[in-house]
Amino acid sequence: MIALLAQAGGFTAPTIDYHAFAPEIVLTGVLVLVLLADLVFERDKWLIPSLTGIGVLAALVPVLTLALDGTDRVMFDGAYVVDDFALVMKALFLIAGYVVILLSTNYIAEGDYHEGEYYFLLLSSLLGMSVMASARDLISIFVALELLSIPAYMLAAWRKRDLKGNEAGLKYYLMGVFASAVLLYGMSLLYGVTGSTLLTEIGAQIGAKPSSVPFITLGILFIIVGFGFKVSAVPFHTWAPDTYEGAPTPIASFLAVASKAAGFVALLSLVFLAFPGRSDVVEPLMWILAAVTMTVGNLIALRQTNIVRLLAYSSVAQAGFMLAPLAVVGDAGQEALTAVVVYLLIYTAMNLGAFAVVIAVARRTGSGEIDSYRGLFQYSPALAVLMSVFLFALAGIPPLAGWVAKFVVFRALLSAETVSGAVLAVVVAVNSVIALFYYANVARLMWFQDAPEGETTSIRVPFSLSAALGIAVIGTLVFGIFPGLVTHFGDVANLAASAIP
């Protein structure tokens, strides 16, 4: 088709590196396949999730081959780049997606939801994320953002008969649309002032401008606000707890992990490629967002009674920790990037794990109340141990992976050797202690309190859920004990290399 068009006028067909697009092509193929399979095989319920899972894993193959290949592939004048950063993030999305599929398998099948469409939308969203990892211009970023968001809006409302489910979808959708409106406005400003949608080009232009341009400041700020919503930074986080609570739990985990990560990916590309010269705006903004986000998230989390809401606020606070390195981006540079990437990788493992346990426990108790975890250790010790592992990992207790994440954040903050960095480091330290309160509280209920009457048999965990738990716990432990593995990824993920197209 492209060749036909090319003949039509003075059109030069772009050269396309199919290897570079292979992950997306595989995902698209699977996506179509799932849609078709849903039509054809209505009886075989197991087929769709398996197909989806295999498809996601298949998409990982080209990611690996690309990684082994090692060369950075730059296309469309730098609008689409497949470098190590992109690959690391793609792998993250795909693995997280795979785990979410594992989490969904029984949940969706037993809930009598629309299975085929569910996986179809999940894959669409994943495709959007995968594109996001490589997107290096405003339009690609916007479109990728919408592709990953719109299916997610609908997935959040997937429990159609449940009022909370509807409400979750509605809130997420409206807030998402508002945020993308603000984002778009910001993008339009930046495009207007630079005349380009390429991040590197924008970076070069606005970096050259004098230090205080309200217009540019406004553009940057609106863009960051737009993504602030996506990563659920305070005060743009309000949707998160409600949506997580009302959405199907696997989707909540998907939003908390993959969607948030996608927001960070875009934020990182923007901050490092488009705003490198504007740390006068980015740094204080990120400082405020980070400090407020972690503090508010943690404080509100202290008072939660629902486990999913607790995790939601915890993920808000975690977003604050992840934003923190960006507050010293001007001085810390690569350290900050490494910190965020490493944090994301680790956060993915431990948060998915926590959600997996929540799903498993809810199979028995049917409740999201924290109180229903009372005495879990007595009747289902394995789940209690796993949950503790994930929670304490989130709290940052060595040797569970969370400490590495906190550690790289500290390192980035202190490596800047600025007062603001040091102060933020102290804020992070204090917040990690506050966070421990509520994580430990859950652990306390599980371990130290007696189980409700009659709870004696342990909870049966279906295979796919066990697999998800296994992946998460291995990630949490291995990253914690051999931090070199994960910091390596953070280190190779280098946006500076692709800054020069």
Binding site: T338, F377, Q378, P381, V385, S388, F392, A395, I397, P398, P399, W403, K406, F407, F410, R411, L414, S415, E417, A425, V426, A429, V430, S432, V433, L436, F437, A440, N441, A443, R444, W447, F448, Q449, F482, P483, G484, T487, H488, G490, D491
Partner: protein, 508 residues
């Protein structure tokens, strides 16, 4: 053999318990005996490794790190897997390797409610890995990780198997320690960035020399909080009585015997050698807090009505002596501190064992309800007396060699420290020994002398079991042996202490 130990010794001794923990977890659910056997085997395996290391250790060069392993770990931040054993680590390693198997033996039939041997022993073994690792790590980050590893198992041990107020105690323990270690980590990172971009404890004293002195003070302050809370020093001690009181017997024993040592060890191994100048500025205040701790802990003991809580408070006082020794920054003081740690570990550990056995028999530790232990369980009474005597620093028993040299060292602190201040501390600390005698003997009198109270007078109280004997004798014997021949430890620690303090005073 030596080659094998050089390459693998320290790694094995650290991680055999961890492997054991995994194995214990993998054991079938109902088979408690198998779980216990595996747990004991793992801790003994580590112990055997430890004995091999001790036998092979080159005592003529106790000041040098031996069996050093230096492997890549986290390349990005130049943090390495460095383990090493020298005269400072050695006694504490030995202590840890001794205490844990004994705890397992003690728990054989004594598992506190609600049972669950699998989880209990798993935690115990993880704890051992953390403790051993802390004493061997020669890299700040590695140290930090091991330092924190002990946190969770202890938290659960207190929280699940503890007393009635266990939840509060557990979370308090956890939060205090975590708060300290968060600041400690910030200090470590500051060292890394301001120093030579290394976490290697061996290199840091030199690398950190160039840091501005005010910055050094701040960095030391962070570490002070981290280690001081763990010690625990007054006024950060409030987690300790709760944790000790609520923890199950074995938990208390490990807490007292090893965990409290991690903080003081941190001072000796990390804080002082790396930042000697800051240490000098801090020393008078550390000394002050130490002597306040001595008196305060003793007075706190006198106020207690619960036997276990009393013993717990005594730890505050005893660790005060340890910290006083460290605060003098002299070889004598450091030697005293290390000896004091080992002695306190053995003695207070034993006291907690005794308290646990009393609780098993009388189901209460309320001092006013006890009495006449010597008539009902004479052997236990004798052992309690022995430990009380050792604890109050009777010469000829191990406690004395932690206490007396610490007081001694305060007479003549390192050059540059205010002599008069330290001499005042010395006098106060010496008065503390009287108070120590006071509360311990008072405890002893009320619990063991006299005749049993009415409620227990007619009860058949069990005599000491085989498990108790097996668990206790290996702790009682060193209390006596070390008391009579303290050079067993001093000869090992002294060269290492000299080396550590070299930058500070150059000996003397």
């Amino acid at each position: 053999m030596t080659d094998f130990l050089n390459d693998w010794g320290l790694t094995l001794v650290t991680f055999i318990p961890a492997v054991g923990a995994v194995l214990v977890m993998a054991m079938p659910k109902g088979d408690d005996l198998l779980v216990k056997v595996v747990a004991l085997a793992a801790s003994l395996g580590s112990g055997v490794m430890g004995v091999l290391l001790l036998l092979d250790f080159d005592y003529d060069h106790a000041g040098e790190l031996q069996y050093v392993v230096d492997k890549n770990w986290i390349d990005v931040i130049n943090s390495r897997y460095i383990m090493g054993l020298d005269g400072i680590s050695l006694p504490l390693l030995a202590l840890t390797l001794l205490v844990v198997p004994l705890c397992i033996i003690y728990s054989w039939n004594h598992l506190p409610d609600p049972g669950k041997p699998k989880a209990f022993f798993t935690l115990l073994l993880i704890l051992e890995t953390g403790m051993v690792g802390t004493f061997l790590a020669q890299d700040l980050i590695l140290f930090f990780v091991f330092f924190e590893v002990v946190l969770l198992p202890m938290y659960f041990m207190i929280g699940v198997w503890g007393g009635p107020n266990r939840q509060y105690a557990a979370i308090k323990f956890f939060l205090f320690t975590l708060f300290g270690s968060a600041l400690m980590l910030v200090s470590f990172l500051a060292l890394y960035f301001l120093g030579d971009a290394t976490f290697d404890i061996r290199l840091l004293p030199e690398a950190a020399a160039g840091i501005a002195s005010t910055t050094q003070l701040w960095i030391f302050g962070g570490m002070f909080l981290g280690f001081g809370i763990k010690v625990p020093m007054f006024p950060f001690h409030t987690w300790l009585p709760d944790a000790h009181t609520e923890a199950p017997t074995v938990g208390s024993v490990i807490l007292a015997a090893v965990l409290l040592k991690l903080g003081a060890y941190g001072f000796i191994r990390i804080a002082v050698p790396i930042l000697p100048e800051a240490a000098k500025d801090w020393a008078p205040y550390i000394g002050l807090l130490a002597v306040i701790g001595i008196i305060y802990g003793a007075l706190g003991c006198l106020a207690q009505t619960d036997m276990k809580r009393l013993i717990a408070f005594s730890s505050v006082a005893h660790m005060g002596f340890v910290m006083l020794g460290i605060a003098t920054l002299t070889p004598i003081g450091f030697n005293a501190a290390i000896f004091g740690m080992v002695a306190h570990g053995l003695i207070t550990g034993m006291l907690f064992f005794c308290a646990g056995s009393v609780k098993d028999r009388y189901h209460t530790l309320e001092i006013s309800r006890l009495g006449g232990l010597l008539t009902q369980v004479p052997k236990l009474g004798w052992i309690l007396g022995f430990c009380a005597m050792a604890s109050l620093g009777l010469p000829g028993l191990a406690g004395f060699w932690g206490e007396f040299p610490a007081i001694l060292s305060a007479y003549s602190p390192a050059p540059g420290l205010p002599v008069e201040t330290f001499r005042t501390y010395m006098v106060i600390a010496a008065v503390g020994t009287v108070l120590a005698a006071g509360y311990l003997l008072w405890l002893y009198q009320r619990t063991t002398f006299g005749v049993p109270k009415e409620e227990f007078a007619d009860e058949e109280i069990a005599q000491l079991s085989v498990f108790e004997w097996v668990a206790w004798i290996p702790m009682l014997v060193p209390i006596l042996v070390l008391g009579i021949y303290p050079n067993l430890i001093f000869s090992v620690t002294d060269p290492a202490v000299e080396k550590v303090l070299h930058s500070l005073v150059g000996g003397g």
